[in-house]
């Protein structure tokens, strides 16, 4: 008998009688303003949030705040020499020296300051992790309350890879002192597009 067969047989013999799944109930979190809640949480975990009206504003921000940056990339075409457009045809190791990456996200979650990205929106899987700084653009009407709402929107969508990203990378492994910038980006900026 293969291990697979051994294990499945052992499990079948050991498991208790069938217990049905519960219903998933949603509760109103009582958020008056989803954007405000999202901003509060994300800024509490070291992220920054700006409300913008156009890509132009984002470009100006990137140019200004990241003057020293040697390499700024985006999955969105900014039509500028300053910001390099990249897509899924990029070899991951070549992204090693990116200072700032600007990407879109599908939606944002107010209860925990997270944004949802899928492989097709970030181009290369490693992009939002390997850059030194990350900037994410979401549409204002795409802010939802909880993770349960999130999975209703995600539904059966197909993706090869996807992630919730909530703030800059961090660790508190050294005596519980919070340090932003572990292996992933050191900062995260979210632009809420009106």
């Amino acid at each position: 008998m293969s291990s697979r067969e051994k294990i499945l047989l052992a499990v079948k013999q050991a498991r208790p009688d069938f217990i049905p799944l519960p219903e998933l109930i949603k509760y109103d979190q009582g958020y008056n303003d989803l954007q405000q809640q999202f901003t509060k949480i994300l800024e509490g975990i070291g992220g920054k949030v700006y409300e913008v009206n156009s890509l132009e504003e984002i470009f100006l921000f990137a140019n200004e705040k990241f003057k020293e940056a040697k390499r700024i990339v985006s999955t969105i075409s900014f039509v500028s020499d300053r910001i390099e457009t990249i897509d899924s045809k990029t070899e991951p190791h070549t992204l090693e020296d990116i200072d700032l990456a600007i990407i879109n996200a599908h939606f944002a979650v107010a209860e925990n300051g997270a944004v949802w990205v899928t492989e097709n929106i970030i181009g290369e899987r490693v992009l939002p992790f390997i850059c030194q700084h990350l900037a994410v653009i979401i549409n204002q009407e795409n802010i939802i309350a909880t993770m349960q709402d999130a999975y209703e929107i995600i539904g059966n969508n197909d993706y090869g890879f996807a992630a919730f990203i909530a703030g800059p990378s961090k660790t508190a492994d050294i005596e519980q002192s919070l340090v932003l910038g572990a292996h992933g980006p050191k900062t995260m900026t979210v632009f809420i597009m009106k």
Binding site: P16, F18, P22, L24, S169, D173, Q176
Partner: protein, 462 residues
């Protein structure tokens, strides 16, 4: 027992020799418990969420074989290669065989308690494989040649000055520098080089979805992703109980996990892996290693609902004052104490007794495992199986004899109290473990029984 033959009580005694350090360890973990409290109180339906998660996991255990088959089918459709390991040895062999097939001798690994349980690192080291643990806490204990002492905060028992010294020795940071920001940055640079050059990444699995064949890996550091997305081969190792039925259930578990673990609303990254990256091989290793046996134990199967959040560790007053290494097992704390005896009753017979049965653990468990009830029940099993000292057994039987004979008890009580009043050295001495750091109560001349007879039985006809 592991750890040079000492049991929890002996190891905890050694740990308690440095009271200031115990205070520091205890305060640090209590702080994490408080952060958890603050986070969960922000969710008005928190208790219902726990109940929902508990019921989902009850369903999983009752239908585990069907879900495993479904998960394997979906994962294969997604392009993953699925392996089944009956025990730790087989798991290690499977992982090594993948490395050997690709002629790889240098790998990165992100946090996986399952690989700790299987002792994967020493096995691979023996075979000439260089494993770099990329979670900062795990890298620290790896450099120190130690096991992690906590499943979420691996080096919670290390002070920053000690980490600074460790980094000075291994990474060349300046001597005396204990600044967490500086040290983390040094680790960032040191590990970045590993991510960029190593071809194989091993990760753990927080949740595996039967419906879609995808699995989720949660980190704050981003190290699992940095490893997996740059590697040619991604090996995901999981305990087979990590299955959840539907993708939408992640909406429940991802709300519970980080809040319970560290008081954050969610980890920085909750990465959903479904297909291998183009030109990449994705392997998933499903591991039994005693889980099917535990599943068959009616009183203990609920321990398999665990999502490895460590909330029970942080709230346990005994864990906080004895440290993870006192449990001499990969997974310490309250949950470890009900999982380990299933693997080896003799070696872990001490663990269910390393508790006052206060019940705090059961209250913080996001999936409502009845931990403290299981600790009590394991005690009965261990005694029945003979894993208790002859001295203890004799003592208990002696106590029972006395308590079963109330008239004898009266005599012994009176004599004992007389001795305590008149020849106290009989009990007030080094042989009496109570007396080591506590005084004994004063011994009254009259027991309540005697007072009652004298004062009340004239009125009550007894």
């Amino acid at each position: 027992m592991g750890n040079s033959g000492k049991d929890h009580a002996q190891l905890a005694d050694i740990f308690n020799k440095d009271e200031a350090r115990v205070d520091w360890h205890d305060e640090t973990l209590w702080f994490v418990r408080q952060k958890r409290d603050k986070a969960v109180k922000a969710i008005p339906e928190w208790e219902q969420l726990r109940e929902t998660a508990s019921q989902i996991k009850n369903n999983v255990l009752s239908n585990l074989d069907a879900y495993l088959i479904q998960f394997e089918e979906q994962a294969k459709k997604n392009g993953a290669i699925v392996h089944w390991a009956a025990d730790a040895k087989e798991h290690n062999e499977i992982v090594h065989s993948i490395l050997a097939k690709h002629s790889v001798t240098k790998i990165v690994k992100s946090k996986s308690m399952l690989t700790e349980e299987c002792h994967l690192n020493p096995y691979l080291k023996d075979k000439g494989i260089d494993v770099v643990d990329t979670d900062l806490g795990e890298r620290i204990v790896q450099l120190a040649d130690e096991a992690p002492s906590h499943i979420v905060l691996p080096c919670i028992h290390w002070k920053k000055e000690e980490i600074g010294e460790l980094f000075h020795q291994h990474l060349g940071t300046p001597k005396g520098n204990a600044d967490p920001q500086f040290l983390t940055n040094a680790a960032r640079l040191h590990l970045r080089e590993k991510f960029l050059t190593r071809k194989v990444a091993i990760t753990g699995v927080n949740f595996a979805v039967a419906e879609t064949g995808e699995f989720v890996v949660c980190t704050n550091e981003g190290n699992a992703d940095m490893g997996a997305h740059l590697a040619d081969v991604h090996i995901a190792c999981m305990g087979m109980e990590k299955i959840i039925p539907h993708r939408k259930h992640l909406g429940v578990f991802l709300r519970l996990l980080a809040r319970s673990a560290t008081g954050q609303p969610i980890t920085t990254y909750s990465s959903h892996f479904k297909t291998p990256r183009k030109k990449q091989e994705l392997h998933i290793v499903l591991v039994d290693n005693g889980r099917s046996v535990q599943l068959g134990r009616k009183d203990f199967r609920n321990s398999l609902k665990c999502i490895r959040c460590a909330a029970c560790f942080n709230t346990c007053p005994v864990y906080r004052r004895s440290g993870g290494h006192s449990y001499h097992t990969a997974i310490a704390g309250p949950i470890g104490s009900i999982l380990a005896p299933n693997l080896d009753m003799k070696q872990y017979a001490d663990l269910p007794f390393a508790s006052t049965l206060c019940g705090s653990c059961s209250n913080v468990c996001p999936v409502k495992i009845d931990i403290h009830d299981q600790l009590y029940k394991w005690r009965q099993v261990l005694v029945k199986e003979g894993h208790v000292s002859i001295v203890k057994k004799a003592g208990i039987n002696g106590m029972a004899f006395m308590l079963n004979h109330p008239s004898l008890l009266k005599v012994i009580g009176k004599t004992g109290r007389w001795a305590m009043r008149n020849i106290p050295f009989v009990v007030n001495n080094k042989m009496n473990p109570w007396y080591k750091q506590r005084d004994l109560p004063d011994a009254p001349k009259e027991s309540f029984n005697e007072w009652y007879i004298k004062n009340k039985t004239k009125k009550n006809e007894q």
